[in-house]
C-alpha cells in the first residue's frame, strides 16, 4: 500500500513536466500544422541555458529559470523566422523534414559546444525529503511540479484571456478567414512557435536539476512528448495536459509492477493502442483550443 502511494506521488510529480512538454508541441501543431521535431532539442537547450546560468554565471536558481525560458522563446522565434516562414505553403512532409534538419543541427551543436559528459545543476533545495506519512516527496521535485503547473496556467491565461490568444484561436480555427479579418497570421505563427518552444525549454530547465544535463537528453523527451500529444489528440491543449499525467502514471506503474526495462516502452504502447482503437486520440480534437 505504501509502495502504491509512493508510486502515485512519483507519477504526479513527473506528470507536471510531461504536460508542459506536451502542451508546447500540441499548440504548434494545432495552430501551424507543423510537427515540431526540434522540440527535444529545445528541451535540451533549456537545460543547458539553466546550467550555464547557475553553474557558469553563478546566477540565482530562481532567476536562472526565466532566463532559460526566455532563451527558448528567442530560439523558437528565430527558428520560425529563419526556417518555417520561408517554407510556409509547403506540404506538411517538407516542414517536418526541415524541422528534423533543424533538430539535428541543434543537437549536434550542443554536443559540439558542451561535449558528451553529463553536467549536474546544483539546486538550492534541501536533500532531505518532505515526509507525509509513508510518502517521501523531494522539495526540488515539488517545486518543479508547482512551477510546471504555474506555467500551464499561464499558457491557458495567455490563450484565453489576451488579444494575442484571441488571434491565435482565430488562426487555429481558420487561418484564411482570420487573415481576412485583419489578423497578422505570420506574426501569430511566430508567437505560437516561440511560446511552444519556451515551454519545451522550461521543461528542460526544470528537469535538468532533477536529473543531469547531456546533449542527447532531448531525444527521449521528444518521443514522450509525441506520445502525450497523440494521447490527448493532436492540437488539443487540455488533452495534452491530461495526457502528460496519464503517461507518467503508465510509466511509473509499468516500471513498478511490470518490468523496469519496459518503462520507456509504455508511452509507445499507449500511442499504438490509442491510434488503433481511437485514431483521433483519447480526447477528440477540440473545435477550439483552451
Amino acid at each position: 500500500m505504501d509502495e502504491l502511494i509512493q508510486h502515485l506521488a512519483n507519477a504526479l510529480i513527473l506528470g507536471g513536466t510531461y504536460a508542459l512538454l506536451g502542451i508546447g508541441l500540441t499548440l504548434i501543431f494545432g495552430i501551424m500544422n507543423v510537427v515540431n521535431f526540434t522540440h527535444g532539442a529545445l528541451y535540451t537547450v533549456g537545460a543547458y541555458v539553466m546550467y550555464l546560468a547557475v553553474a557558469g554565471l553563478g546566477l540565482n536558481f530562481f532567476l536562472a529559470l526565466p532566463v532559460a525560458i526566455l532563451g527558448g522563446l528567442l530560439l523558437g522565434a528565430a527558428i520560425e523566422l529563419l526556417l518555417l516562414r520561408p517554407f510556409r505553403g509547403s506540404d506538411i512532409d517538407t516542414t517536418m523534414l526541415v524541422m528534423i534538419a533543424a533538430g539535428i543541427i541543434l543537437q549536434s551543436g550542443t554536443l559540439w559546444t558542451f561535449g558528451g559528459v553529463a553536467k549536474a545543476i546544483p539546486s538550492p533545495f534541501p536533500e532531505a525529503p518532505l515526509q507525509i506519512g509513508p510518502v517521501s516527496l523531494s522539495w526540488l521535485r515539488l517545486f518543479v511540479l508547482g512551477a510546471a503547473l504555474a506555467l500551464i496556467a499561464l499558457s491557458y491565461a495567455l490563450i484565453n484571456r489576451t488579444k494575442l490568444g484571441l488571434a491565435m484561436r482565430a488562426a487555429f480555427q481558420d487561418a484564411d478567414t482570420a487573415a481576412l479579418m485583419g489578423v497578422d497570421v505570420r506574426r501569430i505563427y511566430t508567437a505560437t512557435f516561440a511560446l511552444g518552444s519556451s515551454l519545451a525549454a522550461a521543461a528542460g530547465a526544470l528537469l535538468g536539476p532533477v536529473y543531469v544535463v547531456f546533449p542527447q537528453m532531448g531525444g527521449l523527451a521528444e518521443l514522450k512528448a509525441f506520445a502525450i500529444v497523440i494521447l490527448g489528440g493532436l492540437g488539443n491543449v487540455t488533452g495534452a495536459a491530461i495526457g502528460g499525467f496519464i503517461l507518467a502514471l503508465a510509466e511509473e506503474f509499468g516500471a513498478g509492477y511490470v518490468s523496469s526495462g519496459y518503462r520507456d516502452a509504455m508511452g509507445f504502447l499507449i500511442i499504438i493502442t490509442v491510434l488503433l482503437c481511437k485514431p483521433t486520440g483519447l480526447f477528440a480534437r477540440a473545435e477550439r483550443i483552451g
Binding site: 501543431f29 500544422n33 510537427v35 526556417l83 520561408p86 517554407f87 505553403g89 509547403s90 506540404d91 506538411i92 512532409d93 517538407t94 517536418m96 523534414l97 526541415v98 528534423i100 534538419a101 533543424a102 533538430g103 539535428i104 543541427i105 543537437q107 549536434s108 551543436g109 554536443l111 559540439w112 531525444g219 518521443l223 509525441f226 506520445a227 497523440i230 493532436l234 518490468s259 526495462g261 519496459y262 520507456d264 516502452a265 508511452g267 509507445f268 504502447l269 500511442i271 499504438i272 491510434l275 488503433l276 485514431p279 483521433t280 480534437r285
Partner: protein, 344 residues
C-alpha cells in the same frame, strides 16, 4: 537516355573497386553506403510513390538484421507457460530469406495501419513502432542479448551444387553481394513502377478520390507497396548484420531512418535514380568531411545541406537537374500539395 543511365551507373559501380585498388577504408564506406542506399530505395517506394512518410522504416531494417542474425546463430528461449523454443543455427543465406519474409510481414501490418491513420498520425505511429521494437530488442535479453549485442554472426555463405561453398568474408565479396542485391531491388522497383500497379500507386497519391472512383483498390495497393518496401529494408538489414557480424539494439536508432529520408528527399522522391544519387552523396559525404571536421560538425553540415536542398530543389537533385538540363526526366511526381491526408 534514361534507360542508358542506370546501366552506365551499374557498370561504373562494378568497376569502381578495381579502380580504387585495395583500399579497405573506402570499400567499407561503399558497402555501408550501399546497404543504406537499398534501405533508401525501399523507403522511396512508400514515400515517393505512395506519399506515405514512414519514419519507422528502420524497424524493418532492424527486424531483418535480428531475424537473420538469430536464424544463423540459433537461440533457446522460454516463451512462458514453461514452453521453450529452441532453434539450431541455419545457414546465413536462409537467414537472409527469412529476414525479408519477416520484415515483409511487419510491412503488411504497417500497410493496413496506414489506411486507418493518416498524415502526422501515421508518421508518429511509425516512429513509435520502431521504438517499441528497439525496446523489445533491448530488454528481451534471453533472445537478443539486449545491450550486450549479438556477436559472432556468421558471414553469408553462398553455395551452388557442384560448385562448392563460398563464404563472403572479404570486403570485396561483400561489396559485390550488396551491389547484386541492390541491382535486384532496383529491377523490382522499376518493374513495379512501370506496371499497372505503379499507376495505381501514383493515382492514389495524386488524387485519391479520382483513383478510387476509377476502381483502384486503395487498401490493397498501399498494403502491397508497404510489404515490398519492408521486405527490401529487411534484406538490407540482413546484409548489414552479416557484413558487420555484430548488431545491438542501436541498429534501430531513429537517426538511421533520418539518414535514409535525407537520401530519398535529397536525391528526389518518386524517381528511380533519386535514392541512389542521394545515397551515394550522403553516404560518402562523411568520407569527404572526415579530415576537415568533427562528427558533430558533420551532422550540422548534413542538416544544413538538407534544408538548402529542400529550399532550392524541393523535388530533389535528380528531378532538379533533369529540369535544369531540359532533359526528359524519369517519371517524377509533383510534390504533395497541402496534404489532404492530414486530419484537420
Amino acid at each position: 537516355m534514361s534507360r542508358f543511365l542506370p546501366l552506365a551507373l551499374l557498370a561504373g559501380l562494378v568497376v569502381l573497386p578495381l579502380a580504387l585498388g585495395p583500399n579497405p577504408y573506402l570499400l567499407n564506406a561503399l558497402i555501408v553506403t550501399g546497404i543504406l542506399t537499398i534501405g533508401a530505395m525501399s523507403l522511396n517506394l512508400l514515400l515517393g510513390y505512395t506519399g506515405q512518410l514512414s519514419l519507422g522504416h528502420i524497424a524493418f531494417f532492424g527486424i531483418g538484421a535480428y531475424v537473420s542474425a538469430l536464424t544463423s546463430l540459433g537461440f533457446d528461449v522460454e516463451i512462458g507457460f514453461g514452453l521453450r523454443v529452441v532453434h539450431a543455427p541455419w545457414p546465413a543465406a536462409v537467414g537472409f530469406l527469412l529476414a525479408t519474409v519477416a520484415a515483409g510481414s511487419c510491412g503488411y501490418l504497417i500497410g493496413r495501419l496506414s489506411f486507418r491513420v493518416r498524415g502526422a498520425y501515421f508518421v508518429i505511429v511509425t516512429i513509435s513502432f520502431a521504438e517499441v521494437v528497439r525496446l523489445v530488442a533491448l530488454n528481451w535479453v534471453e533472445l537478443t542479448q539486449g545491450p550486450l549485442a549479438l556477436t559472432n554472426i556468421p558471414a553469408i555463405t553462398l553455395g551452388l551444387p557442384g560448385l562448392g561453398m563460398w563464404t563472403l568474408k572479404t570486403k570485396l565479396q561483400n561489396y559485390y553481394l550488396v551491389l547484386a542485391v541492390g541491382t535486384l531491388c532496383y529491377g523490382v522497383i522499376a518493374r513495379l513502377v512501370g506496371s499497372q500497379f505503379g499507376r495505381a500507386m501514383r493515382g492514389l497519391k495524386e488524387n485519391e478520390p479520382l483513383a478510387l472512383s476509377v476502381g483502384i483498390n486503395a487498401t490493397r495497393t498501399l498494403t502491397v507497396a508497404a510489404v515490398i518496401s519492408a521486405a527490401m529494408a529487411g534484406a538490407a538489414g540482413s546484409l548489414y548484420a552479416h557484413y558487420l557480424r555484430i548488431i545491438d539494439p542501436d541498429v534501430f536508432l531513429f537517426a538511421t531512418t533520418v539518414s535514409m529520408v535525407i537520401m530519398v528527399v535529397a536525391g528526389g522522391k518518386g524517381t528511380l535514380l533519386g535514392p541512389i544519387v542521394g545515397g551515394l552523396i550522403f553516404g560518402l559525404l562523411p568520407v569527404a568531411l572526415r579530415p576537415v571536421m568533427a562528427p558533430e560538425a558533420q551532422w550540422i553540415v548534413y542538416g544544413l545541406v538538407l534544408i538548402v536542398i529542400l529550399f532550392v530543389m524541393p523535388r530533389g537533385i535528380v528531378p532538379g537537374l533533369s529540369g535544369l538540363l531540359g532533359r526528359r526526366s524519369a517519371p517524377t511526381v509533383p510534390v504533395l500539395e497541402a496534404s489532404p491526408a492530414v486530419q484537420r
